[in-house]
């Protein structure tokens, strides 16, 4: 694909993600996955999982980190140039931020009116449960791949993320540690890496 088109697509995609993410970083993961993995096939499910892991361990918002990584990776893969990769990274990151910029500056003007409005609270009451579903879907997509053939779905486990029974044990252990044990996410990831080195 020609490079200019790729840059335009990158900008447009992350601009949309920035404009339509309501409900925090995990909701943004769902939108990034939907566009970058499912719609454009720029990266695979397992690369996406790796990027999420890296984002959790490094400073900064997860949405920005993912945009920076994907922007570089997609363009560097397509063109083979580090410099263009850096430009891709800048494009994706700025595209993600620009809608917030416009909207926050608009909201600031109508701030008090906006916050107390019944309309706003009503809309958020609908949006929050939907965001829960979107985050759930982000997790499900990293576990199960669905392919449709003549109206019949086939479900296959994402092999790159779950190669054997040990990975299911890791999933369950990490959930327990994080949910009931309230263990810091960074520690959970480090533990996952150490266990990976030991058992594989």
């Amino acid at each position: 694909m020609d490079t200019v088109t790729l840059f335009l697509q990158l900008f447009g995609t992350f601009f949309l993600i920035g404009a339509f993410t309501i409900g925090g970083g995990y909701a943004m993961l769902s939108l990034i996955q939907g566009e970058v993995v499912t719609a454009h096939h720029w990266i695979t499910e397992s690369t996406f999982t790796d990027i999420v892991a890296i984002s959790q361990m490094t400073p900064g918002p997860i949405g920005i980190n993912t945009a920076t990584y994907v922007g570089y990776d997609v363009v560097a893969q397509a063109t083979g140039s580090h410099f263009l990769g850096v430009c891709g990274s800048l494009t994706a990151t700025l595209a993600l931020v620009i809608p917030s910029f416009i909207l926050v500056l608009l909201i600031v003007r109508f701030y008090t009116k906006f916050r107390s409005s019944v309309l706003f609270e009503g809309v958020m009451g609908w949006l929050r449960p939907a965001v829960v579903g979107l985050i759930g879907a982000a997790a499900v997509i990293l576990i199960v791949r669905t392919t449709w053939c003549q109206g019949v779905p086939t479900f296959t486990v994402v092999e790159e993320n779950f190669p054997d029974w040990k990975s299911w044990v890791l999933l369950a252990a990490a959930f327990a540690a994080s949910y009931w044990g309230k263990v810091n996410p960074i520690l959970v990831i480090v533990a996952g890496a150490v266990l990976g080195l030991l058992i594989y």
């Binding site: 701030y111 958020m124 009451g125 829960v132 080195l197």
Partner: protein, 184 residues
């Protein structure tokens, strides 16, 4: 301190420091922002909850929204640009370095093993905040229906999450608007 006199480079530097030390998303940023900004007298204690509430409700990355809003309070649009660039610069540089190096590390057997252990763990780390959120905001049957419906559409029918948000926004807006008009 007169807010008008805060130099732009200082806004950039303070937000770069906040960005560099925030691991784990927007909420982890709040105490750091509070500390850095009230110490300098840039915002009052009462202003912070407002900034957070607004940043949560605006679309996009919450940490960036906080920077835009706080920067705007200090020096208007210029201040918000300085704050935003400041807060994203550290993570941008770190991730870019990782992205450039990761391609050459990816095939190292140790890295492969470590990431084999990391991947299932990451999925749990996405699931946990979802369960927490579900317990907080799914309190009626229709909220559950909405959540499960969105999950099924996105996970199994490959519907883009953007359409889901767009549809929910339109329907919720229309419903709330007419309900308000009716009861008035």
């Amino acid at each position: 301190m007169d807010k008008k006199n805060v130099p732009l480079w200082q806004i950039f530097a303070v937000f770069a420091r906040i960005g560099a030390f925030t691991i784990g998303g927007g909420y982890a940023m709040i105490p750091i922002i509070q500390n850095e900004m009230s110490r300098r007298g840039w915002i009052s204690e009462e202003e912070l909850p407002d900034i957070v509430a607004l940043s949560q409700s605006a679309p996009g990355v919450m940490a960036v929204n906080i920077s835009i809003f706080a920067g705007y309070r200090l020096r208007g649009v210029k201040g918000s640009i300085a704050a935003t660039l400041g807060s994203i610069t550290p993570s941008f540089c770190i991730i870019l370095a990782i992205a450039m190096l990761f391609t050459s590390f990816k095939d190292n057997p140790w890295v492969i093993k470590a990431f084999k252990g990391i991947r299932p763990v990451v999925i749990s780390l996405i699931a946990v905040p979802m369960v927490d959120m579900a317990r907080k905001c799914c309190k009626s049957w229709w909220a559950w229906a909405l959540a499960i419906g969105a999950l099924l559409l996105v996970a199994f029918l490959n519907v883009s999450p953007i359409y889901i948000i767009l549809c929910v926004l339109v329907v919720a807006f229309g419903y709330t608007y007419y309900k308000e008009k009716w009861t008035r």
